[in-house]
Symmetry: D2
């Protein structure tokens, strides 16, 4: 496929600066690790943005030049302004894809797109995560066979309070006894939204090829079509 997708990886970039364990795993930030991974995929044109940049890294210009926004947030959800949330949501409505990773389940922008609480249960225990493919022909599952194993991860458990996904791609198994819908697709306006569970900051999840492959697949899946239009109320004159 010759389609070229402009991916912007946004990271709040806080844990990596305040927590030695996280910095050891992602010395230049989670966004940089994902960007390096995606560089192997020729159809993607990758850039990065962080919370500490002007306009929180997400100006109108920046967003307009982005086909798919990848988001990683955790402890700084509240620092993201309502204006930033509104700008991002509006771009999704106009067709920009949005990929929310891991603790982004509780980011303002993801919750605004879902309309639900997006809550779940969790436990940091460092056991493995088995990611099972439940939709084998879905483009996001391409090349992943039955699924893959992440050696060490935080546990997320059901019930995950999101709208029933339009398409469920992955379900995760955890050794402590829990399950989680870990790859979920929704349409919002003209834009496509994908949530992908793995990626706790203290584990090298984003150094794992299968995880990067999922993000690359999702970027192609979420890329907008030819037009990029914000829906609006419009008066429709009589046919006359």
């Amino acid at each position: 496929m010759e389609q070229r997708v402009r991916v912007c990886i946004w990271n709040e970039f806080v844990d990596e600066r305040v927590n030695d364990v996280v910095r050891a795993v992602y010395p230049d930030g989670i966004h940089a690790a994902i960007a390096r991974g995606l560089a192997a995929y020729p159809g993607l044109e990758v850039s990065v943005a962080t919370l500490d940049e002007p306009e929180q890294g997400l100006s109108e210009e920046r967003l307009a030049a982005t086909d798919v926004l990848v988001w990683w947030g955790h402890r700084a959800h509240d620092a993201v302004s309502d204006e930033t949330v509104a700008r991002v949501q509006r771009q999704v409505w106009s067709g920009m894809g949005f990929i929310g990773l891991h603790s982004t389940h509780y980011a303002k922008v993801f919750r605004a797109l879902m309309g639900t609480s997006c809550t779940l249960s969790w436990r940091v225990d460092g056991g493995c995560e088995r990611v099972w493919v439940v939709a084998p022909s879905h483009p996001i599952a391409a090349g992943l066979g039955d699924g893959f194993v992440i050696p060490h991860e935080e546990m997320y458990g059901e019930a995950f309070d999101v709208p029933e996904p339009d398409e469920l791609v992955f379900i995760s198994w955890f050794p402590g006894g829990e399950v989680f819908r870990s790859g979920c697709c929704w349409q919002r306006g003209n834009g496509r939204v994908f949530y992908f569970r793995p990626g706790h900051e203290t584990f090298p999840t984003y150094h794992q090829p299968e995880v990067i492959r999922v993000i690359a697949n999702a970027a192609h899946w979420a890329a907008p079509g030819a037009t990029r239009t914000v829906p609006g109320n419009r008066h429709r004159p009589a046919a006359g």
Copy 2:
């Protein structure tokens, strides 16, 4: 069915006070007309609330005592505070049903529940609206046969920018050539949401028995189950 459902009809109650045409149709308010209609349904316990009451008519106590909230808003969408929106949304997540009528498509609380722009096309022309049943066995369509005709209505046309409904119950036909998904169901958290298109303030739509029947059916459908719990993030200890 013996289930008893506490329905609260909320109306911004502005058009009826400032517009003579509307007052002529609904002299004591749209909410009062709907309440009168629903009084014929013994399983429903009906109350009303309006924007000008304390806490905009929607205090925590009020909402906690409501099984299903019916909402009519139009020109005062912006007057509804973010706090009110948050209170209502949280109650929906906990299990309260929500029925949005007509121009409520653009109410803050409905848009917050959907996550999309909720925009559409429209024309006030007073032609008829034919409401077709597309899900004959759905409880909201009970007793309505193939559908019914509203003699005079405002036109709403596609594309209606909402998430794909979990269940589509009605599609409307307009003589000017338009169609509209006029009865749509979604789950949000533990609560059920129904959008029903008819009800322009200058037409006697809410005096029509079939329209009231839809609202009564929807109230039973949207009523919460036994528990009423707000979902929350929760730490899950190891099985031990």
Copy 3:
């Protein structure tokens, strides 16, 4: 709820007759065990039927007097005639509920209702099954909290080749590392279909109260509304 639901439990009733292990667990058949369990639920009127009866236990009269058909099949799928399948499918289209249990995933009638292969992966290992609730407010999950554990079961693993469920109620976890969408809802015509995974014939699954509760909840959920009509093509004259 005062609604009274006529439930017919159909069982091929073969394993219990040819296999000593199965007979030890279900001496008078799986259908009898389920019927005994459901007897504790006053809203249900329970009967049983088996493959060796005239018309395979499923005559037109029998089906017309059934609100919800529960089905357990395994080694005799091929013995069910195409006529029987057609009769049952037609009744589902007219509004009869259908609950498919365990190996019924591969029954002719279930596959005819789904339109897919309904294949999966499996292993008889007798480990536990943890059944997680992923839709806490769904009526089929009522009274089950976060879920429950079945001490010994056969494993079923993804990918389960069914259409994306309209509502996903349960996901199961197995100690060998697998997950499975174990409680799935679909609408087919005027009828509701529920698939529930547990119930291998060599384990006492249908003696467990939580399992029976799921079936009882599902029977109420799947019960038809007021009308029972087979959809048909119909010429529609001009309004004239």
Copy 4:
């Protein structure tokens, strides 16, 4: 997009031979008209097949070399053998796309894929059909704006007894007062299914560029991914 899709247009090819009116509109068959239209789309490699060919035009070899099967059937539904239906369905499960046109709603293979009766209401009156886009960013709606008008068509009306579409792309309006879900998407196994309503044999619908464009768009949308595998039950050994 460089993807090259092998499209096979299957037509029962009966009306054109027995009915002068139809022959006048489609002298060499509906399949030939569609094939001519699709020839303008460079990404598609188009062939045709008809009921009177060996193995009803749909041998295993033929199907294995087909990415997307377009189907037009009407009066000869019963002439299609169960073996042919099973071959086609199995290929859909393995990933082949299927596009059902117009009266194909009642073809055996379409009904087998849906699991419902697929019935509807109808009237041949030759009025116009307005096809509205309700999912503007869906790839099948690309290039069609708000929709388009077909000058003369047969009317199909709701209720259309199909499973709730995974994605609803078009709704049609008819001057006699009816509406119809005229563009519907479903996933079945690894294959994608699209139903498109227009195309009565006595009207020149398949000579209209917008109609051909929908079929071309749908062919790209329904094309399978890299693998083409029939799902099967499989024993899964313990991890060991």
